[in-house]
Subunit: 354 residues, 2 copies
Amino acid sequence: MKKVAILGAGMMGSAAAWPLTDNGYKVNLIGTHLDSEIIRSCKKDRFHPRLKRKIPDLVTPFYLEELENALEDVAFIVSGVNSMGIRWIGQTLAPFVKPGDRVIGITKGLEADEEGNMVILPEVLRQELPLKVRERVSIAVVGGPCIAGELAGRRQSCVYFGSREIETAQQLGDVFRTDYYHVWTTNDIAGLETAVALKNAYALGVGIAAGLLEKSGGTDDAGAHMHNLAAALFARSCMEIYRFLEMQGLNTDFAFGLPGAGDLYVTCQGGRSVTLGKLLGAGKTFAEASQVLAGETLEAAMIIQQIGKALPKIFEKGLLKENQVPFMNLLVDAIVHEEPIKFKLDFFFNDEFV
Amino acid sequence: MKKVAILGAGMMGSAAAWPLTDNGYKVNLIGTHLDSEIIRSCKKDRFHPRLKRKIPDLVTPFYLEELENALEDVAFIVSGVNSMGIRWIGQTLAPFVKPGDRVIGITKGLEADEEGNMVILPEVLRQELPLKVRERVSIAVVGGPCIAGELAGRRQSCVYFGSREIETAQQLGDVFRTDYYHVWTTNDIAGLETAVALKNAYALGVGIAAGLLEKSGGTDDAGAHMHNLAAALFARSCMEIYRFLEMQGLNTDFAFGLPGAGDLYVTCQGGRSVTLGKLLGAGKTFAEASQVLAGETLEAAMIIQQIGKALPKIFEKGLLKENQVPFMNLLVDAIVHEEPIKFKLDFFFNDEFV
């Protein structure tokens, strides 16, 4: 029986165990140093406290200290950490990876380098691998609308697997695909990862509307929400994801497919990114909002910070004009410069898209 | 002081009075034969019972019988009826329109002609005008995410005005634009109207997910919804709006801008289209669901019926392939052929978009 290792026992990493075990794979679920409580519970009661479910029979939980043992003879490795852990996971796997190994990551994020280039997380992970295997490990990512708790509940979900090596995406797609987990493949891993990272940032942005509503006193006597504003921000988000993809020569269709519009839609249904946006819209500074959410990993904010580093260089090089990403500019102002939210909507749809 | 007539005193038609009167225009709000109760209330208490608000001071309500009087000396006419009333409004205005007159419509809809061409409602209205003025009346439409109750509540809203004659769109944009109603313009009226009509159909489709959830017993013990499915359907909707625009040589960018993704997003927040989809997802046939919603105008279903007429001819002519619009095919099967909902999601993202 084939075996797979999942490193990182948070919600999304662990949820990957459902389609894998349903397809007959044994899964070694390895907690990071942050996941000890989860692994303890899984070992004791076979109950995952964050997913609130019994783990499948074919899952074996491991503490990080048991890593070497857990990685033995696995067909491939699922990287189940968040973006803060991406260098750590590269360093942690470095002693073990061999040429030909395959790693599939569920992490959404971006880093900006000194020149203002946006670097996708699989490449960040790759930088931590030993030089002599670095280019001989095949890395894939998952992108598309997939809340972990729904995947573990075997709810219908549609995603893309992306890899520079299309055969890796295809092979892993075949391993994961079930009657509830539908997988398409692409070799545009950069386009896929860029879209799904940006959607986190923009979900924060769409969440601002709910905060502004709250600040204005909530729905009025006639029941008017601020859905019109949220929807305009949603559209603007898709358009700016398109711009960022276009700028890098990546697949712009992702902007309005599963990784862009689809993943943004599901992210807007709730969660930390939206909550952070709501707090900003309600009038809190980023520092104040971060205190409210202390202890949470705010990936959306981290992505905006990275883009905030890159944007001045991107504008300087003429790769984008300011009126092509007015919404991202506002998000950078709010997160990086701690400025209060002030929409200049009249400047939001002036980039001659039509 | 300049005067404008709004014909149709439903929610969206009436809401147009807010930006107009805020800009100093007098508004003659004329009810159709279906709006007598609304006009009675507006005349008596200046209260609009459907918008649940006092009408602005500069609005004068009129019964349909007072039409001729109400149309006197108006700068332009707002067509505020739904798609079922579009021929009626053409016939009603026919005796009064003169060359150079301008009409702006808020109606979303499509008709299919005998050859399978999709005809936008402004052209349907135009067909009802006398031959000698038909081509000399300038027609514009409004598209984009704008719930009427929010517009009347002066909530931030972003929309497009479209007209074959761009100067009409621009002039009317200048008349309507306020610090809460943000208007952009396009001469691609067909692209704008097609996107906003299709989004009604697809909002019904996205609503199916909530019905399937209900049918499955609701959220499970671990709290899993069906947001992943709804989000995949949302993405597929944007992609198919893109396909329909592309097929007709219209502006495909609308698929992921205000008229497509934006308007679809706001429509998915609730309303009849979503409710109808939910009933279908929960297992009702279209006939049964229509009974539950008796008395409501089901524009989404009417649009799907029209597309159902056109699709066989579109496929026959090779303008689209079936795998380019699998979601619309499912909607046609449900609405036109009364088939139960059965997603074949594995066929949903196979059209080589990437």
